[in-house]
């Protein structure tokens, strides 16, 4: 998929498990780029499916990058070989990657890293974390310190997802 000219590696600040992280060794390799010999990288789904064996044999970690329109289910059998799934939010109003993250955690019991890149804004972080994302490459215009506050806006959750949230009616049962 084309990236509409935007950079996949805009050098935004990285948050991992609610901590700001200075060092970001991962590079997201565009479809037309060559795969470098070293360094942690993500590749798009098409390349992964075509060159899976070589990529797994590579000495450094390779993650797979999904666009909102990609079919996650084709990765199902490969997940043990993938240390990181990168969800590319070309547009933050496109909610498909939320279901992708949820499925990775809940349907496929994926324990690797799930990172979002692209239009990653403070006010989405809480919801993204709830569906199972744990790494966030913030969009360049976001204030990193303030972004961390975005995780703590809510102390009450009404529904289960890929987090500690549980069915509110079950919680109420436990109170009686």
């Amino acid at each position: 998929m084309p990236n509409n000219g935007r950079s996949l590696n805009p050098q935004g600040v990285l948050i991992i498990d609610r901590q700001l992280v200075a060092d970001n060794p991962w590079r997201h390799i565009a479809a037309e780029e060559d795969v470098p010999e070293s360094g942690s990288i993500s590749v798009d789904l098409t390349r992964w499916l075509a060159e899976k064996d070589q990529l797994i044999a590579r000495q450094a970690p390779v993650g797979v990058r999904l666009n909102a329109a990609d079919d996650l289910s084709v990765l199902q059998d490969d997940l043990n070989d993938i240390p990181m799934v990168v969800l590319d939010m070309a547009s933050y109003v496109d909610g498909r990657c939320y279901t992708h993250a949820y499925w990775l955690r809940e349907r496929y019991a994926y324990c690797g890293e799930i990172r979002v890149i692209g239009e990653v804004y403070r006010d989405q972080l809480n919801f993204l974390e709830r569906v199972g994302v744990n790494q966030f490459e913030l969009a360049a215009d976001q204030d990193p310190q303030d972004a961390l506050n975005g995780f703590d806006e809510f102390s009450v959750l009404y529904q289960p997802s890929a987090d500690d949230g549980s069915n509110i009616f079950r919680r109420r049962r436990a109170l009686d």
């Binding site: 939320y98 949820y102 809510f154 997802s161 949230g165 009616f169 109420r172």
Partner: protein, 553 residues
């Protein structure tokens, strides 16, 4: 009615705090107008033609007197002394200032109300039968189901950025008054042959540019699975709904393009994965929720009350105004000695659904005095007192009449549904309020209205169909032709069990000729009516041609 517990209070307060922060960041220049937009939408705040518009959720239309007083207070403090009740049982304010909205939301939170998810591409307020709990034909009160859906869908992290808005309605009565066939998901509470409670699940209905009648995706879903099945539907929609064209993005288009069989297959495959998850509900969850809606302690009419009932009967024979009001604006109640009272917000000359702050306060006081402190907003943009003792009707009528709230036109042609139209809405192509006024003025004789009988006119100022024109016995759609307002008429729509999409009459009508055209349609009906036939039934029997001949002669 439902009372918030610590969880609900905390969540709503935290939501206000979050939005306060977002507005502050915007006013400080840290959050652009473009970035704020989807965030404010999910807090009910639109940008309209002249100013911001805030839509406040009234879950399944139910309000306490205290809440109604707060709505009046908000109209005075943040708006221009009035509010507009909508067809989805909510209220809209047309003039709040952005900087004041967090305070406004905090005032709402103090009476267990909010504006969460009343706009934006997410799951909206769940609506229900306006006569829930008191209807004679009810099997199960739908409100506990609605409240459970409200909580499950509130800030659901996965379904906050859907392809398009998503609306759920629930009915538990024999006759559908919640338009379940015109919702993204419609639920009918029913029992199967083994006497188990469950839901018939409908999917893919909707109004808008492409009106579609919903289809059955599951004939009987045990109610314990209500949330998991809704979640499965939402997940398939979130992944596969159209995101390239907002006019093809509603679930109805996905269901149509896949076909109901394939859509059902995909939903069921997803549901298989989650049906035994944490989302399963237990009977005790329903019972606990139902305990909030068990209704007031009705009183068996005493001797005094019986005298009151006799007096009401006597006045009906003596005072035709009271008799008209009784016949049109009150409805049979499931409990003997009680009536449901419809407070008309359709005073001729006033925009349908508008109420002033003073009227809201009066309505709240009257509900306190005569209807156990509760009231409801209807799909037809009126207010209901659900539990009025028959003996109190005369007294209540006098008080409503003094506030211009007893116009005896409920169910008549003048009880129109109407969107705000060009006067307020930035989407509208044409005015709807002036057309309502024109029709009111043309049909100013109550005797004539009663002679015509039940005739639902529904009007939208543009094809987004907020006034549900597709489902009107007569539908009126405002269109713009080279800067001039014209009106497209449809006939034969219905939102009830006999759901139908109105048929186009013909070319659009000039603005000043709409009431004349309605008059002609009515005359065709009156000439062809068979005994007590409704307008809709005559139309269905004789077809559209006689109407076309008359209007375009």
């Amino acid at each position: 009615m439902y009372q918030y517990d610590q969880f609900d209070h905390t969540l709503v307060r935290e939501r206000v705090a979050e939005f306060r922060g977002q507005v502050e960041r915007h006013l400080n220049g840290e959050l652009s107008a473009e970035q704020l937009m989807p965030l404010r939408l999910r807090n009910g705040l639109y940008m309209q033609r002249h100013a911001h518009m805030l839509r406040v959720a009234i879950p399944y239309g139910l309000l306490s007197s205290k809440q109604m007083h707060m709505l009046a207070h908000i109209a005075r403090k943040y708006d221009r002394d009035y509010g507009h009740f909508t067809t989805r049982q909510n209220i809209q304010y047309n003039w709040p200032e952005l900087k004041d909205v967090p305070d406004l939301l905090e005032d709402l939170a103090s009476v267990e109300m909010h504006a969460i998810q009343t706009s934006g591409n997410c799951i909206r307020n769940t609506t229900a039968d306006q006569y829930a709990g008191v209807a004679v034909d009810e099997l199960q009160d739908p409100r506990p189901y609605c409240e459970m859906i409200r909580q499950w869908s509130t800030l659901h992290p996965e379904f906050y950025w859907l392809p398009r808005k998503f609306k759920v309605a629930v009915t538990g009565a024999k006759n559908d008054r919640a338009a379940v066939l015109f919702h993204d998901i419609g639920l009918r509470v029913l029992k199967n042959e083994q006497d188990q409670l469950g839901l018939q699940v409908l999917v893919g209905g909707g109004m808008g540019r492409t009106p579609v009648i919903g289809q059955v995706i599951r004939e009987f879903l045990p109610r314990e699975h209500m949330l998991s099945y809704c979640e499965a539907i939402l997940r398939i929609y979130n992944l596969h709904g159209n995101r390239d064209n907002k006019y093809k993005a509603r679930i109805k288009i996905l269901v149509k393009s896949l076909g109901i069989e394939e859509f059902r297959r995909q939903v069921d495959a997803e549901w298989e994965q989650i049906k035994d998850s944490d989302l399963v509900l237990k009977d005790e969850d329903f019972e606990q929720m139902q305990s909030f809606f068990k209704g007031p302690d009705y009183v068996v009419p005493s001797t005094d009350a019986k005298n009151g009932i006799d007096r009401v009967a006597k006045w009906r024979s003596l005072d035709t105004r009271f008799a008209h009001w009784y016949d049109n604006n009150t409805v049979e109640h499931k409990v003997d000695g009680y009536r449901i009272v419809v407070v008309s917000l359709k005073e001729p000359g006033v925009p349908p659904g508008d109420a002033t702050a003073d009227q809201m306060d009066h309505i709240a006081d009257l509900a306190e005095q005569y209807s156990f402190g509760e009231l409801r907003v209807t799909h037809d943009q009126n207010i209901i007192f659900a539990d009025v003792a028959e003996a109190d009707l005369l007294e209540l009528w006098k008080k409503l009449d003094a506030q211009a709230l007893a116009t005896p036109n409920v169910g008549t042609l003048n009880d129109m549904i109407c969107c705000p139209g060009l006067d307020f809405c930035s989407l509208a192509n044409a005015g709807s309020i002036p057309i309502a006024k024109q029709i009111n003025e043309r049909f100013d004789s109550l005797d004539e209205l009663y002679e015509i009988g039940e005739l639902k006119i529904k009007m939208s100022g543009c094809m987004n169909a907020c006034g549900h024109h597709h489902a009107g016995h007569i539908g009126i759609l405002g269109v713009d032709k080279k800067g001039v307002e014209w009106y497209q008429l449809t006939l034969g729509g219905s939102a009830e069990d006999d759901a139908a999409i109105g048929e186009r009459l013909g070319k659009a009508i000039a603005k000043e000729e709409v009431a004349d055209a309605i008059d002609k349609l009515v005359s065709v009906y009156l000439q062809n009516r068979d005994k007590d036939e409704r307008f809709l039934d005559t139309f269905r029997r004789i077809g559209i041609e006689p109407y076309q001949e008359k209007v375009y002669a």
